[in-house]
């Protein structure tokens, strides 16, 4: 064992961290090497000297100073808006997880970019791409010109088509009921108002006739909203007239 070997392990040896055979070899070297033995003696004295340094008592004023600082911080807390305190609590809770969150966000961003690029490639070179881009389920095929394929139990596509057809029918029915209500009220309207209402209604009917699926549902929903507004306005006007008549107002 050389002096360099011994000196490199001196700290570990003196702290009792070496196993027996290595400690024994170092002790053997120290017996024959004055320079290393003196160095070991110095380090042992230093170690013992550091360990026996006395504990230090803080000045009595320390606790009072801490209490003053804490009181000042609490006053500052009460002056701070609630949202800033909530933000500080949130930050304190999540700060230890910041590295993991940053890593997760980076991974998510990479995944989004990869998927976006993949989807774009799939759109441009569709025939060459092995994996087909995701296809949204097609719903509500409008009145198929040929008889649908025979459905079997659990045929999800057929069930979805039935649901879509039922939904469209219910939107149309609601709209048509409102049309008949408004047509009753229409008799008392001015010619200008009648013209505006007729034009609007014709527009909805034309759009519904040309649109399919969800677009047609939307037309019926918009039509229903418009007609509800008309009916409510008409009801309010009629009510105002009744009240005016009751109270003898013009």
């Amino acid at each position: 064992m050389t002096c360099d070997d011994v000196r490199a392990k001196l700290t570990a040896y003196l702290d009792g961290e070496l196993e027996d055979d290595r400690g024994s070899a170092i002790r053997g070297h120290l017996r024959g090497c004055d320079a290393c033995r003196h160095m070991a003696a110095d380090e042992a004295a230093l170690r013992d000297g550091l360990r026996s340094l006395p504990p230090l008592d803080p000045p009595n004023a320390l606790w009072a100073g801490i209490q003053r600082r804490l009181a000042a911080e609490e006053v500052a807390d009460s002056d701070r808006p609630a949202w800033r305190r909530a933000l500080a609590r949130f930050a304190a809770r999540w700060r230890p997880l910041a590295p993991q969150l940053a890593l997760g966000s980076a991974a998510l961003a990479v995944a989004v970019v990869v998927l976006a690029v993949h989807h774009r490639v799939g759109t441009i070179d569709e025939p060459q791409v092995a994996i087909a881009p995701p296809v949204l389920p097609k719903v509500a095929p409008p009145a198929p010109p040929i008889a649908p394929a025979p459905t079997i139990d659990g045929d999800v596509t057929a069930e979805l088509a039935d649901d879509a057809a039922n939904r469209t029918a219910s939107y149309r029915q609601a709209a048509e009921e409102l049309v008949s209500t408004c047509m009753t009220a229409r008799a008392s309207w001015t010619d200008d108002r009648k013209a505006v209402f007729d034009a609007k209604l014709a527009g909805f009917r034309k759009s519904a006739a040309t649109a399919n699926g969800r677009a047609r549902d939307k037309v019926y929903r918009d039509m229903r909203s418009y007609l509800q507004g008309v009916a409510i306005r008409d009801e309010v006007t009629a009510n105002d007239r009744r009240l005016a008549g009751t109270r003898g107002l013009p």
Binding site: A8, L10, T11, A12, Y13, L14, D15, G16, E17, L18, G23, R27, L30, R31, G32, R37, H38, M39, A40, A41, D42, E43, A44, A45, L46, R47, D48, G49, L50, R51, S52, L53, P54, P55, L56, D57, P58, P59, A61, L62, W63, G65, I66, R69, L70, E73, R89, A92, R93, R95, P96
Partner: protein, 203 residues
Amino acid sequence: MTETAIDSIPTPALAEPRPRVSGSLSDDAELIAACRRGEARAMEMLYHQFKRRVFGMAHRIVGPNDAEEVAQEVFVRVFRGLAAFRGDAALSTWIYRLTVNASLSHLARRGRRQEVHTSDESLAELAAPPETSRDPGLASRIEAALQALPPGYRAILVLHDVEGLSHEECATILECRVGTCKSQLHKARARMRELLGPIGERS
């Protein structure tokens, strides 16, 4: 090669750590909960439990002039930060980490304001040869030599040798690997030996 008497060979000595200041885990949890609720007695109890070690570490890392300021900063951070203390490490380890970090940050700020130079004369004084094998002035020379070390060396010597913490605890506090901690301690002691000169018994 001459043989040396058995009793003159420096031998290993396991550290005798100072009495643990932290109680059991359940004691710590109760104390932390009471401090979080702002109970004055619990806060004072926690202060008295840790005041010597926090002040002692700060004193030996930043020096006597700024020790009180740093210790105050540490305890304010402890009480303000207890709400976010997750218990991943022991309460004592967390408090010592705050102490070391506050001390090193303080030195960095102070270093920017004024460079601390250790004169050759003061280094020569440190290295004055001991008159006896049991040097009565050794403790004060060691304290002075500590102040001449780079802050990182000071921190590891204070944690491991003065406070008697294990390498694992030191590594957790200094946020480094155990191997790094051991090599830093080795270099720090070598630097101290250079500063102090011969202090061990000669045979």
